[in-house]
Every structure is written in structure tokens, then in C-alpha cells.
């Protein structure tokens, strides 16, 4: 089944105000472009599930789309620190209060994995002794449970499965059915997508079903579990995509600085989100403003994998 559509249609059909939304990406393959469309559509009250959030979460919070955050770390990385919009929301409730449930880079993907496996909960061996157990947010008593291990009789910490309403992942390539392929750092995209009710795949390029079959081990999500496929070159910018483009740190720092004030944040949003219609419009604006050389300069240098034989 051909599930190709543009971003506007994908978000309209599969993401709704109040949804729990899993966002893919870990340093690279971030869902920047999909987040812009969510902001343009003015969705509200989202619960974001994001293990290691990036710029897109800060935009979504600053634009007022987010009520709750299920996450493990909120730094934008070395030299960037916490997002200013995030901090305004947490510390001053601007534009709205955001509730946040703190987990870790172990427990949160374990919870997504439990979701992807269809089981209601899973044991973890960490958090003991930490204040992560002392303070809970919107999950309350369901943040974790301590039981007696039925095999060893020792205390066993169980964390609940997460099953978001919808997952958005950005991948290197997909076909029109939604078979999605990645390489490089994998993040928790597969876990998040498999845990979710609906799945939107955005891809740097659309390839044929035949081309997918030339290397089927790279498929992290088979098409039958995917609801929408969007061809979206530069979809992760200013974050990187292995094999396509590098991180645009200069652009990120520009946002970081602008977002220190509400006016600066709004200016950025107007220029890069509201005043462009879609990602091609965004890329066109970037090129116009900074020149084609800067965009070209981000493109990946070659470092090609060897071919392997799938024959028999």
C-alpha cells in the first residue's frame, strides 16, 4: 500500500492534540521537520516521549504544544546546556507549565521496549538509592513498583511499559509502503516506533521496494507497521543524518541565543516555522539567507560501506 503523503497530511491525520507522541532521534535523525509542522498546526497538550531530547523538544515546548514530558535528559549538548524554552516552562510556566517525569537512559528505553514487546512492565536494576524513586510527577505511584522477585525473592524494581499514541521517526531511506532503513547510531527509534499505535516515517529519500530488498537487514520498521511515509530531505536539520549531512552547530547556537528571550524565540519561530510552509520552504529560506555554499558545506563526505552478499 502506498502511504506516501506530505508532512501536512501526515501530521493532520495521525497526530492530535492530547496525544502521547514518541519522537525519534539521538543526536542524529531528529524529527525537526515534523516538529515544525506540529507547531504550525497548533497542536496542544502533547505528552512527549523522548529519551534524550534535542532542539525540537525546545521548539515544541516554547510554542506551547507540550503539557507533559517523559524523558531522561534535557540538555541540548556540550556548549548548549538546557534549552531556554524548556527552562522558562519549568521554572516560570511560560508559555505553560510542563510536567516532567524523570527517568534515565536505561529505564526509559526499557519501558519503550516493554511497550514494543506487548508486556505491561519490565524489571530494571537501577535507580535504587536515587531520588528518582523519591519524587514522581504525573505518573505518580505508577512511575515504578517494587515487588519481590518470584525467582530470587529479592526486591525487584518494575517499570511500566509505554505505548505512545503515535511515533515519528526520521530515517535515511524508506519505500512507499513504509519499510524504513537506517544506519549509523540507531537511538531508540525501533523501540519507540514498535511501542506506538501509529507510526509516521519521514525519510531523507524514498527508494523502491526492490532497493529495500537489496539489504533487508537495514530495515528497522517493516511497512505493515507504518501509517504514513513522508519524503523530507533535510528533515533533521539542524541535527545531522549519517551519510547525508552534518550537524549545523552554528544554526543551533543561533537558536540557542535567540531563544534566551521570548521575543527572540518568537522571532525564530516566525522566521523558520510559521513563515515557511514546509521543509522545502525552510531549505529555500536557509539557502537564500546563508547561501548555497553553507548548505552544501553540511553535506556528508563519502565513507562508504562495503557491499555484502545476500546470495545462497
Amino acid at each position: 500500500m502506498n502511504k506516501l503523503m506530505n508532512m501536512d497530511e501526515a501530521i493532520t491525520r495521525f497526530v492530535h492534540s492530547g496525544d502521547m507522541v514518541y519522537l525519534g532521534g539521538y543526536g542524529c535523525r531528529c524529527v525537526s521537520s515534523a516538529s515544525h509542522e506540529i507547531i504550525r498546526q497548533g497542536l496542544r497538550g502533547l505528552t512527549l516521549v523522548r529519551c534524550s531530547l534535542s532542539d525540537e523538544t525546545d521548539w515544541l515546548i516554547g510554542a506551547g504544544c507540550v503539557s507533559r514530558l517523559l524523558t531522561s535528559i534535557v540538555s541540548l549538548g556540550v556548549g548548549m546546556g538546557l534549552g531556554a524554552a524548556f527552562r522558562r516552562a519549568m521554572e516560570q510556566g511560560i508559555p505553560n507549565k510542563v510536567e516532567m517525569e524523570d527517568y534515565t537512559n536505561l529505564s526509559l528505553p526499557m519501558m519503550l521496549m516493554a511497550g514494543s514487546l506487548g508486556i505491561p512492565c519490565i524489571p530494571v536494576k537501577e535507580m535504587w538509592g536515587s531520588d528518582l524513586l523519591k519524587f514522581t510527577s504525573f505518573l505518580g505511584k505508577d512511575k515504578f513498583k517494587i515487588i519481590s522477585c518470584p525467582f530470587t525473592s529479592q526486591s525487584l524494581m518494575m517499570v511500566p511499559a509505554i505505548n505512545p499514541d503515535v511515533a515519528i521517526i526520521h530515517v535515511q531511506q524508506a519505500d512507499a509502503e513504509g519499510n524504513a532503513q537506517v544506519w549509523g547510531m540507531e537511538g531508540d527509534c525501533e523501540l519507540g516506533a514498535k511501542a506506538s499505535g501509529k507510526v509516521i516515517v519521514t525519510a531523507e529519500r524514498i527508494i523502491s521496494r526492490e532497493a529495500i530488498g537489496r539489504d533487508p537487514n537495514r530495515t528497522i520498521m517493516p511497512g505493515f507497521r507504518v501509517d504514513a511515509v513522508v519524503e523530507e530531505p533535510w528533515g533533521s536539520h539542524p541535527l545531522a543524518v549519517t551519510g547525508f549531512y552534518d550537524i549545523d552547530q552554528e544554526f543551533r547556537l543561533m537558536y540557542r541565543e535567540a531563544s534566551e528571550t521570548i521575543e527572540g524565540f518568537e522571532g525564530f519561530m516566525n522566521e523558520w516555522v510559521y513563515d515557511v510552509r514546509d521543509r522545502p520552504g525552510y531549505v529555500a529560506h536557509y539557502q537564500e539567507k546563508y547561501g548555497i555554499e553553507r548548505l552544501e558545506g553540511l553535506k556528508a563526505a563519502p565513507y562508504f560501506s562495503p557491499s555484502v552478499n545476500y546470495g545462497y
Partner: protein
């Protein structure tokens, strides 16, 4: 043999101290920045057989530039294995295969508990901090934890505002009572001013050596509890010229480390 170098920055000395904690054959989990450089330095000097894991899912990365973060795409080409932070955290760390974890934070207390979550009240923070990421599980489950932090009175506190990463909690046996695996926990704190260890009886942090550019009194002044000092306290051994050369010319040619910390 090596010549000692008088020309070094506090951060470079921290990296050298970190490297010295690594034994050949150790399996390390590191973030970018100082820990990555420290581990790389150890691998290039006395610990060629150590294995470096990046929290982002990369084993034995071969970056050709200073990574901007732990998930920088420059860490992928040439690595021995690239998958996910889930693989690192769950199948290598949680299963008990990590010897050393490097951690940082905004506050550390005398039992080596680390706070990277919030200053002030958790629900109404004066300052919200990044949160755990991989820090809490690493602090729970790695055999030895090395803490690297800038020294300051508001950072070396008697009790952290929030325990993101458990050290020795409130003293001997507390980790085990809380449910953490035996034979784990912080073994050293490396600051801009000195090197600290934990008393094997009391589990309290004490000053092992002060960096040559500072004094014991200065370290005490920048610590917010009554810091115990080793009777054998001495200046931290200087970096070697070779170590400084490796750092500056090969491991951090862009000088990112120095840029970040200043």
C-alpha cells in the same frame, strides 16, 4: 623516560588524572569531552587494551575531530560497533560488563552522591538541570565510577539537593542496603583543584592530592563541608610532556576541551 611538564592547564591535568585511573583491559563507558579524551589518552599510553564505549551506542570510536557531543556523527565511521544507547545501558552496563564509568554533575557531596537534576526543590526548582541521562544507571551499575568536576564551594556540598546518581548515599553499606550491586561505586573525584578518594571504612571523600597550581587550604576553602585530608597528601604528579603533547596535538587538536570549560 618521560619528562614532567610544568606547562599544563587544570583541565589537562584532570584528563591526565582520569587516564591514570584506567587499567589496561578495562571496559569504560564515557561521554564526550574530558572523559573521552582521558580514555583516549590511557589507550595511547599505558592501557592499549582498554575498550571505550560511548553512551550513544558506539564501541571503539575513531573520531577524526573532537566530537561535539556523544552522538556526533563523527563517532560512527570506523567504529567497531554502532547501535544504540539502549544496547550500551541495558546489554553491557545493566548486565554487569562495565568496569569504569566517568560522570560529571553540578553538585557532589561527601559520599560521592551526584546531582544533575535540580538546584532547590524538585517541584519548584531554582535551577532545573539536565537530569540523569546515562549518569544514574552508570553510577548504579559500573564497577568503578570516576567523577570529574570543577571545584567550587557550591558544587562540593555536604548533601546534594537531589541524588540523581547514588554514590555511597549516607555511608558504609548504604548502597547494598538500597539494592545496588556489591563492589560498585565512586572511587575517585577529580576536580580542577585536586584528586579525592573515598575512605574504605567511612566511605567519606577525602583529599588525596592537591593539584600543583593550588594548595590544600584552597581546596578546603572550596569545599562546603569539613573536608578530610590524607595524612600523606601531596601535590598531584605533573603530566608528562608526552601526555600534554598527545592531548594537544592528537586527542584534542581543536582545543575544544579548553574552549568548553573556560
Amino acid at each position: 623516560m618521560w619528562e614532567w611538564s610544568e606547562d599544563y592547564t587544570p583541565e589537562e591535568l584532570m584528563v591526565v588524572c582520569g587516564a591514570r585511573e584506567i587499567k589496561d583491559g578495562d571496559v569504560l563507558i564515557v561521554g564526550s569531552g574530558m572523559p573521552l579524551i582521558a580514555a583516549s589518552l590511557a589507550k595511547r599510553t599505558h592501557a592499549p587494551g582498554c575498550t571505550m564505549l560511548l553512551e550513544s551506542g558506539v564501541v571503539d570510536a575513531q573520531p577524526r575531530r573532537s566530537p561535539q557531543n556523544v552522538a556526533d556523527c563523527c563517532l560512527t565511521p570506523g567504529a567497531a560497533s554502532v547501535h544504540s544507547f539502549f544496547e550500551m545501558m541495558a546489554t553491557h552496563l545493566q548486565s554487569g560488563h562495565i568496569d569504569i564509568g566517568f560522570l560529571a554533575g553540578s553538585q557532589v557531596d561527601k559520599y560521592g552522591n551526584i546531582n544533575s537534576t535540580c538546584i532547590g526543590d524538585y517541584y519548584r526548582p531554582e535551577l532545573r538541570l539536565p537530569g540523569s541521562g546515562g549518569a544514574s544507571p552508570i553510577g548504579c551499575l559500573a564497577r568503578r565510577v570516576l567523577i570529574m568536576m570543577r571545584q567550587a564551594k557550591h558544587r562540593f556540598v555536604s548533601r546534594v539537593d537531589y541524588i540523581t546518581t547514588p554514590g555511597y548515599l549516607d555511608g558504609p553499606g548504604a548502597r547494598e542496603r538500597a539494592g545496588l550491586p556489591p563492589n560498585t561505586g565512586p572511587v575517585a573525584v577529580i576536580s580542577t583543584m585536586g584528586l579525592f578518594r573515598f575512605d574504605s571504612e567511612t566511605k567519606e571523600m577525602y583529599l588525596e592530592s592537591h593539584h600543583p597550581h593550588t594548595t590544600v587550604a584552597e581546596v578546603i576553602e572550596n569545599t562546603d563541608w569539613e573536608l578530610k585530608v590524607s595524612p600523606a597528601v601531596k601535590p598531584t604528579p605533573l603530566p608528562s610532556e608526552e601526555e600534554i603533547r598527545l592531548i594537544r596535538q592528537e586527542l584534542d587538536p581543536q582545543g575544544m576541551l579548553r574552549r568548553v570549560l573556560r
